[in-house]
Symmetry: C2
Subunit: 168 residues, 2 copies
Amino acid sequence: MAAQRHYDELARQLSAFGAVKRDMARILPPDCPGGSAAVLTLLKRYGDMRMSKLAELLAVDMSVASRHVAHTADRGWIERRPDPADKRSRILTLTAEGHERMEDLNVRTTELLADRLSDWSDDEVNQLIALMTRLRDSFGDCRTTTSRGQFPAAAQAPAPTQTTRTPA
Amino acid sequence: MAAQRHYDELARQLSAFGAVKRDMARILPPDCPGGSAAVLTLLKRYGDMRMSKLAELLAVDMSVASRHVAHTADRGWIERRPDPADKRSRILTLTAEGHERMEDLNVRTTELLADRLSDWSDDEVNQLIALMTRLRDSFGDCRTTTSRGQFPAAAQAPAPTQTTRTPA
DNA sequence: TATTGTTATACTCTATAACTATA
DNA sequence: TATAGTTATAGAGTATAACAATA
């Protein structure tokens, strides 16, 4: 239980943190807004999944996820195949075009962060990641869209279909 | 210079961090959206200031700040007095009603954070605050709305007109 | 001519609710 | 009846550009 003063300061940081996100968003290509980029990133990282799972990872309502997915599907970056096990569901898959788009996004993101974090150490970045992850958990424990905690160690063990080795 | 993998993870955290902010926004009273709350918080904390300074602290374009300020002024929470030294400028001042509103906001924020951060130590909260502050600085160094760095130690020495003692 | 602030416009993101199809 | 997903609608936040008043 931290002191009142710390709460104020944390609230202030959260409030002004949007500027960082907006700076990140500025480097995105014109036809790929942040929502689409997030969809592609998660599919690249965790592999095929259903709408509901994607919505959970995005931490938004499924209606919002549906919107972003529609945008990316319209551009041919992902495919929505029917789930043979449950005809209500759709399985999302990154297409070849989607992978290309991701390469581009990765380059842009890396360039930006390499510039902005040029004087950060690995350790500091790791600390920040760990604390942000923990904060998200602390907030997410209460009101989650669905169940939460089904994906294996989301923050600890990322990077599935990175280069070679198709683990699934 | 951190590794590529860390960049990806940090970008992921930033992307999903919006959920935390939305959780914070949910506790706001109906007639006081996040933008208005931010205006009141900054005026309470740093005292009277001009539009341009407020926009800088909010880390948004002045047109956006003008909008939020208009909303709070319409409700009588702040006053916009002409600056005698520069008739183009307006000095923003928290009214008595604005102070009342801030009391309410403080209670709500504190309650929420006390709940969410119940198992956080002071030290952890401080670490997170410090790293978020540093990240904002790293990003803000490049493209700032105006000059930056005019306010004395924004993150280090907050809390001006807290309870008693009117330092100005 | 440059700067402070306001307003008009457009875009992104979000949630709620109503709806379809399937379980 | 309950769940997966889509769509319509509305609200908040933001930036750009055009504008007014003043420096």
